[in-house]
Symmetry: C2
Subunit: 397 residues, 2 copies
Amino acid sequence: MALTSGRQRTDVLTAIAQALRERAEQVVAANAKDLAAATEHGLTAAMIDRLRLDVDRVGKMAKAVDEVAQQPDPVGQIIEGWVRPNGLRIEKLRVPIGAVAIIYEARPNVTSDAAALCIKSGNAAILRGGKESFHSNLAIAEIIADALGGAGLPREAVQIVNTTDRELVPLLLRQEENIDLVIPRGGESLIRAVVEQSRIPVIKHYTGNCHVYVDAGCPAELAESVVLNAKTQRPGVCNAAESILFHQDVAATLLPAVGRKLIAAGVEIRGCERTRALLPEAKAATDADWAAEYLDLIVAVKVVHSLDEAIEHINCYGSHHTDAILTRDVTAADRFVAAVDSGNVMVNCSTRFSDGGEYGLGAEIGISTDKLHARGPMGAADLTTYKWIVRGAGQVR
Amino acid sequence: MALTSGRQRTDVLTAIAQALRERAEQVVAANAKDLAAATEHGLTAAMIDRLRLDVDRVGKMAKAVDEVAQQPDPVGQIIEGWVRPNGLRIEKLRVPIGAVAIIYEARPNVTSDAAALCIKSGNAAILRGGKESFHSNLAIAEIIADALGGAGLPREAVQIVNTTDRELVPLLLRQEENIDLVIPRGGESLIRAVVEQSRIPVIKHYTGNCHVYVDAGCPAELAESVVLNAKTQRPGVCNAAESILFHQDVAATLLPAVGRKLIAAGVEIRGCERTRALLPEAKAATDADWAAEYLDLIVAVKVVHSLDEAIEHINCYGSHHTDAILTRDVTAADRFVAAVDSGNVMVNCSTRFSDGGEYGLGAEIGISTDKLHARGPMGAADLTTYKWIVRGAGQVR
């Protein structure tokens, strides 16, 4: 795969998208087997909804593959280069990582998304989806293998772990000679289990406990629109806000106004004592609320004495994912940006923008909460490494 | 540390270098305690030599710290940045990683080198050197803490693990909430033990099984000078060559000539059958020789049928560290560069150039044989991560 051209990889992705559309009924039929078993095993409605495919959803999967195809090729970029005094020409060349294993839950669309990003970046992919999606994944993988084979590339470049045996995962995670990177996608317990067992480097994608801090002097309309959007536009995703902090100088005016808008939008508020004094509708927050990732229409609200207390609170209780300040004070914005230890720091906009598509990176394989290799939204370019190329004319030391 | 200015960090390093010179006798006295214990415990002469400090060697440590001080500041660089159609300004800002643990053998100079690179890049350092260097490391750490404190920075930003208890290392490696990165430096067994136990991301620095491949049509003088240099200029280091491959078209002429020069330089040759037919002085190589990292005046020599056999051999038996081709054929050079899966690929120069200083990166913390985060020579900039800064004017989704 590392020796393929960008054209070959793009053509394969286009072929996969086309075959997904043409063979959508076949994927839906395989999915029906998974759905029948899921119903039998009593999966929750939310899990079944994530598992379910119809022709329309398969069409969306195809569209996502087409979009990855159209992204610029990350492979082959000269990241840096220079000539040394002795004439050696040094280049840092972007190349695929090699083999990437992705371990995820029973969401069949992740199969085509992850395969597309791995192919785009010249990697081989080993995909292990939740066992409830076994038949769906095999059907999607067959389409991908056919497209790879049809383009003269190895059918095996994308492999589904072809068993539902749970014992296999620990064995997979010890293949450090054969697999270069593991990306777990799913709940915290899945990710922790992978980190615990893996000898292969792991990039983690924990969900986010994202904050919006409303600074002293923040205009009412800025606080209202951004807080409402960050909390309620899509509460079940990792970049939705879970905690709102108000500077005490604006708490008396802004907290009740913003709080009542949140309540009107169906949000339950869990507040500190000063919050409850200003907004009697709020329930009492416990320490656990400051660290909670509700992924739901619930929000923790706290009044802080200062910008520095807000920063300390975020660095202490947050998940280092995405945190925002709303302010008119450039000094406060600069300090917040410098001191908040998060992968994404926002000034005067919604935390919901923390997203590969919104940043202009194209499709993302997840939002890394790690600091090594990739941090924040992780696209095809983050599935590459580099090698140093040194060209000389016989130089010796 | 993340909020310090580049000036502050440079000044601390200059103060450390100065104090190392002024207090060299104190370091040497502490080192004498370690040397006495080492002699008593029967350490090898090579280990004692690596452990030994005198005023001259402490002066060299000070010089290395000064050199790190003079490197450009890696922190604060805008790696990329652009404006989105909705007006959001996106910046990818280089920032320190946080807390870096370095686990190494009984080489006290690593204590000041590693501390200097961590301070330069705005990180806190947790240093665990071999127990035989305990008193030396404490003396060096005291000088570093005094310099940090004298500049108004936290004395605790560089910490020596203040015990020789081996049970502590596994505990350290589970502090994933407090330590962001572990770098083991030393032999393969040390590194494997760290990888096995760590929940914290690890960047590995294995030693190298480096190859020089002499292609068809390679001029004699190019083969002789580069092979001799790669093997003999400093055989005990990771970027020295361990295997030489000759294309069969040049083997009859070049292999005996190069082989006899290696023998004259004191090198033992272990060859394949065809090598031994051309050079009867060569011993017979076993399969283990193709994978060996001798770090000594021994070399494995093999005749290959083709460029592709050379590439396959290198990717199969090599350690993905540094491999070189000597050729006049631009197509062969391009194929070698593309297909050899190593962190450093050289064309027509010695493998010995695989080095942060030689690349112009400044002092290195090691040469990564990993593909994630940093690959090849790893300098102060590789001890950084980035955060995404998004600035808006009230944008919502």
